[in-house]
Subunit: 517 residues, 2 copies
Amino acid sequence: MKNYKSQKKLLKLFNKTLTNISMKTEGLTPKRIPIRVGSRYIAILNEKAAKQMDLHAADRVILKVGKRDITAILDITEKKDFKDNQIGLYAETWEKLEVKRGDKIKVSIAPKPLVDAFIKDKLEGKTLTEEQINAIIKDVVADDLSDVEMTYFVSGCFANGLNDDETVALTKAIVKYGDKLEFKKKIVMDKHCIGGVPGNRTTMVVVPIITALGYTMPKTSSRAITSPSGTADTMEILANVVNDATKLKKIAKKVGGFITWGGGVDLASADDKLIRVRYPLKLDPQGMLLASIMAKKFSVSANHVIIDIPIGPQAKVKTMAKAKQLQQRFLSIGKKLKMKMKVVITDGAEPIGNGVGPLLECFDVINVLKNAENAPKDLREKSLTLASKLLSLTSKYKSEAAAKKIAREVLDSGKAWTQFEKIIEAQGKKNLPKIGEHTLHFKSTKKGIVKAIDNKLIALIARNAGAPLDSGAGVYIYKHIGDTIEKGENLFTVYAENKDRLKYVQKLPLDTAYKIN
Amino acid sequence: MKNYKSQKKLLKLFNKTLTNISMKTEGLTPKRIPIRVGSRYIAILNEKAAKQMDLHAADRVILKVGKRDITAILDITEKKDFKDNQIGLYAETWEKLEVKRGDKIKVSIAPKPLVDAFIKDKLEGKTLTEEQINAIIKDVVADDLSDVEMTYFVSGCFANGLNDDETVALTKAIVKYGDKLEFKKKIVMDKHCIGGVPGNRTTMVVVPIITALGYTMPKTSSRAITSPSGTADTMEILANVVNDATKLKKIAKKVGGFITWGGGVDLASADDKLIRVRYPLKLDPQGMLLASIMAKKFSVSANHVIIDIPIGPQAKVKTMAKAKQLQQRFLSIGKKLKMKMKVVITDGAEPIGNGVGPLLECFDVINVLKNAENAPKDLREKSLTLASKLLSLTSKYKSEAAAKKIAREVLDSGKAWTQFEKIIEAQGKKNLPKIGEHTLHFKSTKKGIVKAIDNKLIALIARNAGAPLDSGAGVYIYKHIGDTIEKGENLFTVYAENKDRLKYVQKLPLDTAYKIN
């Protein structure tokens, strides 16, 4: 603590000096740059002007005109776009300062954010306090940190990890500086799947079962980033998934729950901003991943939560040891956050259901909910298991088995399907698109038993076929692990809306998708 | 190695898929953004257009018009600056593509750089190979990496360190992808000081001594970033320090050496680019620091090198243990690079010489070289020690003491001064500026012995007084550690060119600059 104070003092001293040094400018002539760059304010100086004011690229500067001032991030150009007495202002900056003809802009250096020191601490392997994490996330949400600073924070969390207390603090901070969906219910349910398994659309079966029983389940889901479909993409085939907080509360009040795209509400603004800098290296620092998931549950008021960790050679989690470690962390953090929680480790070795791609996945879900003959058993069973584990968190059921019996009744009786139709209606029903008319049937070249399926390749085939943007594109698999197959029998069919897409599909090593012995 | 290959294969597969997905665009209408952003090509899409093409901010995209194509980094704007069929191109991008009226720009995703995987490896604590480091630095110099990617690389090196082999590889890569100053001499000398000590201008004494003896010493120095003066700033008072490679070779041929600003030649381009992202957090990953120093020596063909590590409570290196660790690393890396090297640990507890600030430091240097009565003894002695240690690396002298005798003779005889005048003449002599006319004399409030001097505060006083931009500004100290002082006697004088500056100086806690008991 002493160290922190002296750090703070020195920083103050330096900041004061720097402010003094650059205050000598008498005002620069603004030049408007007709581009919007998002919420951050950016100003540009030429190299010589910057040097004279002792300013560097990425410095924070205070821009002042009359009584208005804002803090902006400085860019420096080596080229002659600006004169030495000019300052370039992007559209948002220009407008915020209400620049008028003849105005002069006074420039001085802004104090460096104190959180830079905390971020450096994390990179050095130190543990951050709740206050420090709060301060970082506050600055992230306020767009006060540059991409470089946010990247250092992500790096520190990735290289040195976040302990449970830090993760809890990060969760709370993300919730604090984001929107919330409040439900004044004693029981609000939610689920989350760590992902990496194609076709894993259990949410669309679990939510109807749970809400048919009268519970509240406000489910936000993500869209595909590198996969052939996210739950939000698949749900979007049937219903509108872009809904704001007001509308979502109305829907939940009416039908008990929804399945919507998380990006339609600003529940975890900090998380979204950090994900942007995580994207280039696809970094998933565990503490951030946990906080991100927990914050999303927290911000919809969920207090009964089931987490699904699929393991498989190509799932996000590859080994049982890793899954158990993650399970322990979830439980420990859930406890600290006073959430009732179960974490179930599931089989992620092969796709769940038969369809991979938005529309094909929808067919699977509908078939399960309608108890159709060709409903994929694995999707049905996994959904029932997740629903019953979630129900049994309430202590209203004698056992998980008792809860499962109830869940099965809801599904078998058609109540879940009726409830799903109500949810679709409440969100705004859509017309089903057509399935891709161009097909490629891939047959087995030998007789045998399916030993393994290459999930990543199946996903890649569906992507190449056009999913998720072409909603009728994807892969339908006929065989799961353990199934017997005859020589010449269909293994899978690829659907595409655009014929050219099948050419891209054929470039992939299709014969390695199934391992048959 | 197997892992590396499969990683590479998968990446290729993914990249192929992504390329296919985004190739569907039929061409966008370009809109020129009249700003230059440096050497990197940048294009902007609106959010909807980006989503339709499955592109994300910071993605690399190939822009194609006719037969010309370039790789650019993608920005995405949430606002309506562009229509869905438009693409914004910054000035450099527009010009490079030679866009003409009616042209359409085809956009496709570019392969992700393979080095992203290496950078992630480093963040995960793995050791990088020479090839991997080479590939990263090649991309850094070619502006192929975004700031976020470079920041991750710096973070990995900072959080997990670089071992000696990695540091050697980094040194060689920086040299390989930068300019070189080649001297076909058997002995090329150089020195480097780790820094953090105000007034430490030994270079300006050592170079004249060494070159007066007929050796080659091509010294590149840095400017102040947060200190009141760098060697380049101080030398610039007397001579031109912005010289290109051709001119520097000419000067060295004529007078044996120079003292120039490193930024005038592009000797370590990769280093400069990495320093830009290190700046916001002021990160000094040790391996990068070592590689940066060694690369600069290497790129001027130096093979006899002395490194000065000052230690003190406010120097860059604070403890003897840390200094010894750094010393060992320098020696070990020097050996691997086949450089003759000595690393000397010196006293960095107080300023060297009496002046702090460009002109005041010049006075000290000139006084030492001219053997003036008021020449600061510490600057003289330290310079002689460094020069003699450097000379004794050549094995032309029986001992360090013998070398020191020679160095002292060169200095005492005035030969060093004559040589310094020749160097100044060769670089381009300047007229001396005036010393700041506004002064503040700070007197001791008690009698006693100087126990400590606050280096950082002295530096801050000089900065607040206007150094280094106001070259006549700075601090002149009258007392060093161990000196006796009377009550009311002058401790130091602050010089400023601008009267207002003294007000800023007076806001600092001047009474804590000296500790007297």
